[in-house]
Amino acid sequence: MNTAKGAIAFQQTNVVYPNGVVGMKDLNLNIEPGEFVVIVGSSGAGKSTLLRAINGLNRVTSGTVSVNGTPVPQKEGRELRELRKHVGMIFQDFRLVKRLSVMSNVLIGRLAHVAGWRTLLNLWPEHDRAIAMRALERVGITEKAWTKASQLSGGQQQRVGIARALAQEPAIILADEPVASLDPVTTHQIMRDLVTINQELGITTLVNLHFLDLAREYGKRIIGLKDGELVYDGSAKTVTESDFKDIYGREFTDDDLLNEDAKL
């Protein structure tokens, strides 16, 4: 689908928020193009901070984040827009324009690829409409293309969110708690979609999750964060119960599992 590669590297990266909260502490991390990485940790551990540092939504205080060897620009502007053009993001709360059609929402993923005067006048080239339609096909909701986003179910809205990211023809997809507002059945569908997209298109995919069984089921590589620090980095196959205890700093309960019958 595209030639841009999605390598990510953190070098001694720190994020301290204006209120003094440490979001990231001395992070060293390399992610190869095409990897599927699940990031786990309790709330406030710095999962979102990590994702948002990659597309420059959060500034880093010291150290560097780079994408394909280029440092992420630390101010708004043409360079940062150029980077974001190839980095898709999926949100817990979907973030769709509720009163617009599904198609219009997916076209938003083409904003950085199309001349500004065209996007402001809503005059999308045929080429970009075709890309948006293909993105909808991939998540299987072409028949909803002209439906208002507000009329879709949660799972369908998240699919539109994924299609919007795909329409960017991204090298990297960042999914920030993509299933936290969905029911268990929809959750598995969305996770499978993300895995399939990663396998078929080779898009580097980072997913924040707080359910441990989901992390283990869908992750290839698991990264554990605690208080902004990297405390685990390894294969999903070999992660143990005690590793999870280290990450969460406590015994875990049924609340940490999506499916209460699942055993770790």
């Binding site: 053009k85 324009v97 938003i108 904003l111 996007t119 402001l120």
Partner: protein, 261 residues
């Protein structure tokens, strides 16, 4: 069965008497200040009643001659609303703390809006009349400014209360500031914009009649000329006509606004 009510607290008589006395004193002071006296009012009531007698019945024969000027009034209001409504968009966006491009721009825009609102529509009519001459064009320009003053302030507050998640998502796909406004912010506040624009139109229909009094054209100008000629039966006719027309416009506008809400 009978519930025991706690003892009713005593009324604060000093406060009530104090406040009442203060209001009374203020009224007397203000009345003497402007030379208002009740006895004079009663003595002059006779001339008031003569005025009322001369004003009745309304001169229905005058009705056909009102339609043209009233249409002019409505035209002035429409131009004022459209031009002012379009100008309000950038002014409101830059005055919204969460969307503006920088502190200096925000501060300058806020103060610009405050100045527009402080000066009354009549002032703008006089100003534009000096610039382009007395007539409907001056009226339309004055109402454009008035519309900006009404919409931009109200709408910038609506814009400040939108969910910033969507604008951030537009930023995250690589969208520019304008694209963030176009796709992330405005869709969330579009309904309130239309609602405020209709409200501004209602105000403009009424304001354009006042502007007519000072020569900005429309039905206000006819009202003033008939009053100056002591044609009170025609004045009554104009007032009735305007009353009905304004009621119809307001009903229509509030119907649409309710549909949007």
């Amino acid at each position: 069965m009978s519930a025991v009510l706690p003892k009713k607290p005593a009324k604060n008589w000093p406060l009530i008497l104090g406040a009442g006395g203060f209001l009374l004193l203020m009224t007397i002071w203000s009345g003497t200040g402007i030379g208002f006296s009740l006895s004079e009012l009663v003595c002059n009531i006779a001339s008031g009643s003569r005025l009322l007698q001369e004003s009745w019945p309304p001169d229905f024969g005058f009705l056909p001659r009102l339609v043209g000027p009233f249409m002019e009034t409505v035209n002035i209001a429409i131009i004022g609303t459209v031009v002012g409504g379009m100008l309000s968009i950038p002014i409101a966006v830059l005055a919204a703390r969460n969307l503006t491009t920088g502190k200096i721009v925000w501060f300058a825009d806020r103060n610009f809006m405050n100045i527009l609102r402080t000066l009354p529509d009549l002032f703008w009519a006089m100003l534009f009349a000096t610039a382009v001459g007395f007539g409907p064009v001056a009226g339309a320009l004055a109402l454009s400014v008035f519309t900006v003053a009404v919409i931009s302030k109200l709408w910038s507050e609506s814009l400040e209360s939108i969910d910033m998640g969507l604008p951030e998502a537009v930023r995250a796909v690589g969208g520019s500031w304008l694209e963030m406004i176009r796709y992330g912010a405005i869709p969330q506040a579009l309904q309130t914009y239309v609602s405020y624009a209709l409200y501004a139109f209602e105000l403009n229909v009424r304001a354009s009649m006042v502007l007519g009094l000072v020569g900005a054209g429309g039905i206000g100008m006819i009202l003033e000329s008939q009053r100056a000629n002591f044609e009170y039966e025609r004045v009554t006719m104009i007032i009735l006509f305007v009353l009905v027309a304004v009621l119809i416009i307001e009903q229509f506008s509030s119907y649409i606004r309710n549909k949007l809400a």
